[in-house]
């Protein structure tokens, strides 16, 4: 668990981050979203002390981050950034081995860990371990960047616009991979982005920042239904808010009892996708089933529309 207490960063007279307090639960995926210059990256960098706060403090599992030297703190915290930040003169394997080497792991353990991570990110070690970053595609570079950040299985992973440089298709794949990483390692993730769709797609909780302050920090659905501030409404988008709300609810959650008729949809699909399917096929009800085909109930247009209201 991370506790941020009254954190402020001033450059001269201007406060880039202004008295932010928030609690981030363990094993959660928290997204900090804001326009450029909102202070979101600075807030993130104060967690691993790449930026030292002007005042306030950060506690990780109850320990003040200032109690140990900054570089030792950072070795325990994963860090992935936009444009991956891979070291261009080091091979993929050497890049991933960065933190294990700093921690003095023996060579055999490092090699085993590098191969395990490469496989976890669908990169064949025999092919990619010896390559230099510039020989990889953008999506592969990004995956190596995340693999490097996870090399010592940190309990906390900080990500600063990690998918910003990727095209939409690779980006969606990278987002899925991230959710998979979280399921697999149970890592607490704090991710900074300017993309509200990404925030809604990934975040358990979303903090909306503007001018150095956190305007609202809550579950995505609450941001839509009970925005604390006109700026939050503008960020989440007024015109599309009903449809966006539907993206946050799965068919399984919304299914109503009964056999029903019409085509099958899987329980993990969002209501947004189900509605789209209904419109496309010109039907007004579907059957909801689990991945293994077990019936979970049915959904109608009326039932879906009812979920798109605050």
């Amino acid at each position: 668990m991370i506790t941020i207490e009254n954190l402020t960063k001033r450059y001269g007279a201007t406060a880039v981050v202004d008295g932010v307090s928030m609690e981030i639960a363990g094993n959660s995926l928290t997204v900090i979203v804001g326009t450029s210059g909102s202070g979101k990256s600075t807030l993130l960098r104060m967690v691993n002390r790449l930026v030292e706060p002007s005042s306030g403090r950060v506690l990780i599992d109850g320990h003040d981050t200032r109690d140990e030297p900054a570089h030792l703190l950072r070795r325990r915290i994963g860090y992935a950034i936009q444009g991956h930040g891979l070291f261009p003169h080091r091979t993929v394997a050497e890049n991933i081995a960065t933190v294990p080497r700093l921690l003095g792991w023996d060579a055999g353990r490092i090699r085993a860990r590098v191969e395990e991570l490469l496989r976890a990110f669908q990169l064949d070690p025999a092919v990619y371990a010896g390559q230099l970053p510039h020989q990889l595609s953008g999506g592969q570079q990004q995956r190596v960047g995340v693999a490097r950040a996870l090399a010592v299985e940190p309990a906390l992973l900080l990500m600063d616009e990690p998918f910003g440089a990727l095209d939409p298709i690779i980006r969606a794949k990278a987002q899925e991979d991230l959710l998979e990483v979280r399921r697999r390692f149970g890592t607490t993730i704090v991710l900074v982005t300017h993309d509200m769709d990404e925030a809604f797609r990934l975040g358990d909780r979303v903090a909306v920042m503007s001018e150095g302050r956190v305007l609202q920090y809550d579950r995505p659905a609450v941001l839509l239904t009970r925005p604390a501030d006109p700026f939050v409404s503008r960020m989440t988008g007024i015109a599309g808010r009903a449809l966006r709300l539907l993206t946050l609810i799965s068919a399984g959650e919304a299914a109503i009892p009964g056999a029903g008729d019409g085509p099958e949809v899987v329980a993990s699909a969002t209501l947004h996708d189900v509605l789209s399917e209904l419109v496309w096929r010109g039907v007004d009800s579907v059957r909801v089933v689990d991945a293994d085909g077990t019936p979970r109930g049915r959904l109608t247009v009326a039932a879906i529309l009812a979920r798109g209201r605050p």
Partner: protein, 381 residues
């Protein structure tokens, strides 16, 4: 078929030189003006016409053949034959036992060697050899030249006559030349690298330091030697230890100090440029991984800046090898000693005895450091 333009130019130059200029010059002694001789005058007819035939073949290849390997082989064959022709002329024109006459390569010989050299360089460049091959070619060329010289092939030519007279001093001055150039480079690296790193970290310092170094660069070498004489002489007078270390107003001390000062700008400027080339994201990621500032500098920033820094080292080394020559004027020694003695005695062969090794040294240093910089550049930006 297309006419090769460089080939046409070089062929025209070579042909014109061969027809109108002397191939060798015969001098009764080292300082009198000489008698011009053409190739047919100094070699047996079969040898002279053999040379003409071979040069004609090289010219045709230079004009019409596009394959770089063929052009390279032809040019190198030309270089060897023209060099050997001069050596043969020396042997033929020198009366047995005579150590006074001087047989010097004439204007045509120089024009031919330069033309063939350019042709070879052009062909080699077109083949885009890798760094290892370039270094190997350099080593082989130097070895061949050394073997020919050691074997005495050119002993009757004027420059080698000057060498024979100055053999003992030559090795000493050559070693001194290298140590002056290398020593000032080492000192410039020892000061310039940290200064460059500091300038990179402190942008306000950068402008001031580079400004001062730029001004130093514009001071002519002779003037800088003069400027340094007084303070170094005072230093030696005030500190017996300094004098004991060989620091004086003239000699090696002002030469090394001046070369050191000239060397700082390329080293500092390239260190700054090299470090600036390292992407901000990369450095930020390194810090974010938990590297200490020293680890980021030695593990990330300097390795990535190294190719650019080596380019600076190359500039400095080549520049120093050239400028050490002038140090001979203030008693600094080095191969420049022969150059200035030669000028004083109007003995052009003695000038060449100093100048040719200087050019060879500078060229070798450039090839070696270029290759090194290329090998070090693992990450194309």
């Amino acid at each position: 078929m297309r006419l090769d333009r460089l080939g046409a130019l070089l062929t025209a130059a070579g042909a014109l030189a061969l027809l109108t200029l002397p191939f060798v010059v015969f001098k009764a002694n080292r300082i009198v003006p000489g008698d011009p001789r053409t190739l047919v005058q100094v070699l047996p007819a079969w040898a002279a016409f053999g040379c003409y035939a071979l040069l004609l073949a090289v010219a045709l290849i230079a004009l019409a053949v596009g394959d770089a390997r063929v052009r390279l082989v032809a040019a190198l064959a030309g270089v060897v034959v023209v060099a050997l022709a001069a050596a043969a002329a020396g042997n033929a024109l020198t009366p047995p036992g005579n150590r006074v006459v001087r047989i010097a390569p004439g204007a045509a010989w120089w024009v031919l060697m330069v033309s063939l050299g350019l042709l070879a360089t052009d062909a080699a460049t077109r083949m885009r050899p890798g760094p290892a091959l370039r270094v190997l070619s350099l080593v082989v060329s130097l070895a061949v030249a050394w073997l020919a010289l050691a074997h005495g092939t050119f002993d009757h030519l004027s420059i080698m006559r000057e060498y024979a007279v100055n053999a003992a001093r030559f090795a000493h001055e050559a070693a001194r030349h290298v140590s002056l150039a290398g020593g000032s480079l080492a000192a410039a690296l020892a000061v310039g690298l940290p200064l460059g790193i500091l300038c990179h970290r402190l942008p306000r310092l950068r402008g001031a330091v580079l400004g001062v170094l730029n001004v130093i660069q514009t001071i002519p070498a002779i003037a800088l030697f003069g400027i340094l004489m007084a303070p170094l002489a005072l230093l030696a007078a005030a500190w017996p230890l300094a004098a004991a270390l060989g620091i004086r107003g003239i000699g090696a001390a002002p030469a090394v100090v001046a070369l050191f000062l000239y060397s700082l700008l390329p080293i500092v400027a390239n260190t700054v440029a090299g470090l600036r080339r390292v992407s901000h994201t990369t450095v930020e990621a390194a810090h974010g991984m938990g590297m200490t500032s020293a680890q980021v500098l030695t593990g990330i920033e300097l390795p990535l800046a190294l190719p650019v820094i080596l380019t600076g080292v190359r500039v400095v080394l080549v520049q120093n090898i050239g400028m050490v020559t002038v140090a001979a004027l203030i008693g600094g020694g080095g191969l420049g000693t022969f150059v200035f003695q030669g000028i004083g005695q109007t003995a052009i062969d003695l000038v060449l005895l100093g100048a040719i090794p200087i050019v060879a040294l500078a060229f070798s240093a450039a090839v070696l450091l270029d290759a090194l910089a290329e090998v070090m550049d693992r990450a194309p930006q």
